[in-house]
Subunit: 134 residues, 2 copies
DNA sequence: CGTGTAAGGAATTCTGACACG
DNA sequence: CGTGTAAGGAATTCTGACACG
């Protein structure tokens, strides 16, 4: 499918879909016309990326998070860079720290919002059944 | 306690504590000197307000959410306004809608961040135990 | 950094019409 | 009838840039 369809199916703006590609998060085929061609797997992948971005993750952190690894173009670059140093997959302690910090940030935020959600829920329940209160 | 102590105990800036008061979310006593005097209950109340604000709720929405109702000063104003109309507690359908929308927003955001948190957790686990992967 | 927008051009698709065998 | 084609407009997409918080 082309970018417009992916956009309406995912609710992600065309602008952002292009941005994801620029950052190596998505790598659609190209038609002879130059138009991007996305497949079904890209629908899920784009939705996941969007969710991660809305959660506050940066694209740099998202790349290694994606299930099938970085998008082809980026994978090639990464492989090149890796060959320059060693050939294997070393965890990169700096990145690990970033993920650890991110996890803590997400957990704190979720806790905060869960508390708020419960407060709003309780209030709505109170409004609906004004039995016990003053 | 005075504002500095409350601030360090809650991690909320002095600026924000004064703001909460300005918006009717907190109503500390005043010493003869004019200094604000908070009691123990204000520690929890301030923390709750802070959590709600960090979750994106507006102060207008937070006021009716607080367990003991609006802070004294605001309560007086509200009572006045209520007397002008009727004497009872009517739910105010508009506000109810706002809360319903807020609940939906919070639930969506929590779902989004929970998904992201899980992705980060999985990734960290993968980094720690690179047994099964490629 | 993530996102919107205005700009100008290129490729695509649409419809209704005409032509052909 | 099924099919190709030229015509004109509308919708879509492309890239690179600027703006914003």
């Amino acid at each position: 499918m082309r970018i417009g369809e992916l956009s309406s199916r995912t609710g992600i703006s065309v602008r952002m879909l292009r941005y994801y590609e620029e950052r190596g998060l998505l790598a659609p085929q190209r038609a002879a016309s130059g138009y991007r061609c996305y497949d079904e797997a890209d629908v899920d992948r784009a939705a996941l990326v969007s969710s991660l971005i809305r959660s506050g993750l940066t694209t740099k952190l998202i790349i290694p998070l994606l299930p099938d690894g970085p998008a082809p173009a980026e994978a090639a670059e990464a492989a090149e860079a890796a060959e320059a140093g060693d050939g294997g997959r070393r965890p990169d302690p700096e990145l690990t720290d970033l993920f650890t910090a991110e996890l803590a940030r997400l957990e704190a935020k979720i806790a905060c919002m869960t508390l708020s959600r419960d407060a709003v829920r309780r209030h709505l329940a109170r409004l609906a059944v004004p039995a016990g209160g003053a």
